[in-house]
Assembly symmetry: C2
Homo-oligomer: 310 residues x 2
């Protein structure tokens, strides 16, 4: 029996402007890595956490990587002991699916370690246990692209219904992550509880338009659809230089630009990798004016999902 | 110069469950026919109205066919006189785009008569003048499939942005029209003014899912997406036998079933013309129990749009 398994889970952009709580895509580059090993001590224990500057909970039930593995053991192999080492490659509270990646990498590693061989749908159900800690509610628009890879639509939550959306090859993404932290739970609390009918019609039109644009490779349509009348108006003020960055992205050829997840990261879509690079530089220059530090990345839209790497 | 032009505009299903105010498709079979002829008397006059049992306004400014032509004359050929004859082939207040078809047929006929040669987008702007009379608000999810044909997404209203959606060849539609009338204006007034966030997420997920299902030909996905948590709960009680008909449709293999437009017509989608025929019979049998009369039709999803026929 394998004694130790390491899995990688990518960062992801969720919401994607018009797809609040229902769309997301995996990013290439950053991700969390979790090593799971058998332990003689029943239950789940976190052995180590590395790669992050701010302290994360080392109690397994308080770290997003823990509850998915606790649930996996309870459901499939009660009495077993698993120790996990978490190597964070994604900034916490940055809005590119940090908590989701830890949860997914942990459950993918544990599933392989224990030979439980669960389906992606089953792994998703387990990974949700981690997101409940991070966001205070069930939302899977980071978890599902992190697990499936690619661009994902969460068609429904009851039951969860994940649909892979094909994306034009030449669609790329710029991401800028200002070095501040926004708690997902706070970013959810400030959202309106109800949405005026007119805005609902706008949001559904844009969500449907974005999917149509993806399937037809219609970049102008993708751009026109990347509007968020629900979360962005409530959250933009949390992000330093939001308007400056967005204007810079659009001025440099971005199809559209919005908040990644609950922020503070912003994403922009572009019709080539070259454009995405220029756009992210322009966003960085715009943010620099505020004095806020940041990191950037350029990625395809919909990288590979989580996988065992050793 | 041509002295008389006749145009046909098809019936249409709008809303399509999850696409409230943003989706619609043209039906084969029924439609309104409008003949426009030059008149020496400036302005627009209705010469005759046929094909309907209940009286319609004969004053041009009060009938949905009039204002689009009035606006066309004002914008393009002021001082000209046009007389229009309206032959209704679609029941008024039935929920399959009767007012939209009159407006569209009238403006298409007048455009050809006067040689103004407007684009579809321009014709749509004019046709909206007719819908304002019928519904008290601007909505184009019947007008645009009626003009464009096929299955249409209204991506946005400001500005109006029409996107043609490709549909699987073997997708068919059953429509049952109970013989009662529902005023669009009333059906809009009873809608909630704001929608709980949870329902917004459900509706956007379904709208996006339906578009994905159309492009991929994924019939089960189309079926799962055909849910309406916004208008149907508020409007179903207006329709006699609504639940009976919907249950009958689903029991006989419908992918999904919902209210067409603001009702009382119901539509169901099916994966073959044969199925659509069986489904509409079952819906008819279910409605017959209530004693309410009805008409039925079976159609492809997205027939040809409006055109000049002579």
């Amino acid at each position: 029996m394998v004694k130790e398994v390491t899995a990688f889970a990518p960062a992801s952009v969720s919401n994607v402007s018009c797809g609040f709580d229902i769309m997301g895509f995996a990013l290439e580059g950053p991700g969390d890595t979790v090593t799971a090993r058998l332990s003689t001590q029943p239950g789940v224990r976190i052995g180590s956490i590395s790669g992050c500057t701010s302290p994360l909970p080392v109690d397994a039930s308080g770290n997003t990587a823990g509850p998915p593995v606790i649930a996996l053991l309870r459901q499939c192999v009660p009495g077993t002991g698993v120790e996990i080492d978490i190597c964070k490659g994604i900034p916490v509270g940055g809005g590119i699916g940090s908590s989701a990646a830890s949860a997914v990498a942990a459950v993918v590693a544990a599933d392989a370690l224990l030979g439980t061989n669960l389906s992606r749908e089953e792994l998703l159900e387990l990974a949700i246990e981690g997101e409940k800690i991070a966001g205070g509610s069930v939302h899977v628009d980071n978890l599902s692209p992190c697990l499936w890879g690619g661009f994902v639509l969460v068609r429904g939550y009851n039951p969860i219904d994940i649909v892979s959306i094909s994306v034009p090859d030449s669609l790329f993404c710029s991401v800028i992550s200002p070095r501040i932290e926004i708690k997902t739970e706070h970013a959810r609390k400030i959202l309106p509880k109800a949405i005026p009918m007119e805005d609902v019609i706008t949001q559904t039109g844009n969500a449907a338009g974005l999917i149509a644009g993806m399937f037809t490779g219609d970049f102008p349509l993708i751009g026109r659809s990347l509007r968020d009348v629900i979360a962005e108006p409530a959250r933009a003020h949390l992000i330093p230089g939001f308007t400056l960055m967005k204007e810079a992205a659009l001025a440099h050829g971005a199809l559209g630009c919005g908040i990644s997840g609950s922020g503070p990261s912003l994403f922009a879509l572009a019709s080539s990798r070259d454009d995405a690079g220029k756009i992210v530089s322009a966003m960085g220059n715009a943010l620099a004016v505020t004095g806020c530090g940041y990191a950037t990345l350029v990625s395809c839209v919909g990288a590979r999902g989580a996988r065992v790497i050793s």
